[in-house]
Amino acid sequence: MSLDTVTMLRHGKVALALHHVRNATAAGGRPLLILHGLGEAAPRSAPRWADAWPGPVAALDFTGHGASTIPRGGGYTAELLLGDADAALNSLTEGDPTRSITVVGRGLGAYVALQIAGARAAQVRGAILVDGPGLAGGPTGPTSQSFFSLPIGASTPDPYALVELGRDLRPPDYAALFVRLALAGSELEEPIAVASVFRPEWLDAVAREHGVMQATLAEALATYAG
């Protein structure tokens, strides 16, 4: 059954929209959290690729996207979005640290899915990284930088989100750290699944780490559903 019930979560001063897009189809199914790509918004109905997932399906609007708050004057980082994802995790597990979710991240959401899998390793039972907007991210090291102001808008996506999250630094060794954290804290032998076709440098480093599965989205979902 498809639905779009929205829970507004607090992450600091930001209100985040968590869309519950499908109920569980089997008792005891683990929640599946969908993280969207850069400039997108959460799907308002369950994607067809999630049909076989037994648990409830939810999708989060990141800060500055969809129905979530537009901050004043920007200030986005991927680590902020990690905090967004953590707020969703806390809500979907009802604050119970013994409960877990599975995460599918598209593009920028894939990078955040990797981070939450490392940061909350015991509570993320599988993170699946798939293609989508913002997958590449910014440079892997320091560059000549530009700083400028953008017109303030009243609708999402926030232009500052597009600019700042489109150029966030993604050193491969930093990304790989989250794989090691996930592996150290997860019961799974392969807590990360790379299902993307495109492999930017950070993701290529992730894919080469021990504990990372190379699989299609359907294969990875089937593995983590168990």
Partner: protein, 329 residues
């Protein structure tokens, strides 16, 4: 929407000068106002004559512009209009939804454009403010005639004797702690207390500073409610955090800076300091750069030795008349 109690919000109307805890030579700013920085109200404080050539002061993290109450007037005596601002979430500026290095940089540009549109000026940064300005000087050198960095030169401190798996555990605890803090920030408040209590707490981080100075900081960087004083700084902010940025990435911008550069470092290491050994940064000096290293001085060089540091800065930047006419000092 989840219902959460509203945290106490500081009164951002600027304080009454007569309420400042008195401290010898410290001066309330001559002018105070807010600028709209891309939708956020940023508080600006000025000392000296309004029509004098401007010089910018940039405070460090968890500080605020009024920490220059002692240092700024001494620079103003040299004939400069001294301008500083409270970074977002600090002092009398608004508490935004987000914080980042780039956002701080954009806020800074609003002040630059207001104070000295189209003309470069001398800039003095302390701690995080020094690091911010070092990066901005690399990205937009046309805005600077001189850059003075007071103990804000990043230096990478590695821990060579920690095994890799232990570092992973350290990182895990660090990230989980940060996320736990983020979960609590919606309702976070600073702990109230008396002026003496807040000064004592700050003294733990600033052990070299005069207790009376710390009391003044409470009255200039705090606000009073029915249950006591609180720091104005956004309670969602905290030390630490993590991310992909590495200190050496700012350090490597230093050698290429085209404007005259002066680093001022205190020899004494302390809690809020950057742990930068002077001899480690000397190889990174730009062609027209040098470092002054002050013995028996800690991280807050401009508070511990305001007259000496002001004298060094004034000598380095030359006369304000030369700045106004656009000639060399």
């Amino acid at each position: 929407m989840t219902s959460t109690p509203s945290p106490i919000v500081p009164d951002r109307s600027f304080g009454d000068p007569t309420a400042d805890f008195p401290y010898p030579d410290a001066e309330h700013p001559a002018r105070e106002y807010h600028l709209n920085a891309n939708g956020l109200q940023i508080a600006v404080h000025e000392w000296g004559e309004a029509d004098a050539p401007p010089m910018l002061l940039v405070h460090g993290g968890f500080d605020f512009a009024r920490t220059f109450d002692l240092f700024a007037p001494k620079l103003a005596e040299g004939g400069w209009r001294i301008v500083s601002w409270d970074q977002r979430g600090h002092g009398d500026s608004e508490h935004p939804e987000l914080y980042s290095w780039d956002a701080d940089m954009r806020d800074a540009l609003t002040v630059f454009d207001h104070v000295s549109p189209g003309r470069p000026l001398p800039v003095v940064g302390h701690s995080k403010g020094g690091a911010l300005m070092t990066q901005l000087a690399d990205a937009q050198p046309f805005r600077f005639t001189h850059l003075i960095n007071m103990d804000g030169i990043p230096y990478n401190r590695r821990i060579p004797d920690v095994a890799e798996h232990e570092r992973t555990k350290m990182a895990s605890a660090e990230i989980a702690g940060w996320l736990d803090h983020r979960r609590a920030t919606a309702t976070a408040q600073r702990k109230p207390g008396t002026i003496e209590e807040l000064a004592k707490r700050r003294g733990r981080m600033n052990p070299r500073l005069d207790p009376d100075w710390l009391k003044r900081l409470v009255t200039t960087g705090g606000f009073e409610s029915d249950d006591g004083w609180r720091w104005k700084i956004d309670p969602s902010m905290r030390f630490g955090g993590f991310g992909p940025w590495r200190p050496e990435w700012t350090l490597m911008r230093l050698p290429g800076l085209p404007m005259p550069f002066l680093g001022i470092l205190g020899r004494e290491m302390e809690e809020m300091g950057w742990g930068t050994p002077p001899e480690k940064v000397l190889p990174y000096m730009p062609f027209d750069g040098r470092c002054e290293i002050l013995d028996d001085v800690g991280h807050f060089v401009h508070i511990e030795r305001p007259s000496l540091v002001a004298e060094i800065v004034l000598d380095f930047v030359g006369s304000p008349e030369a700045a106004a006419s656009g000639t060399d000092a």
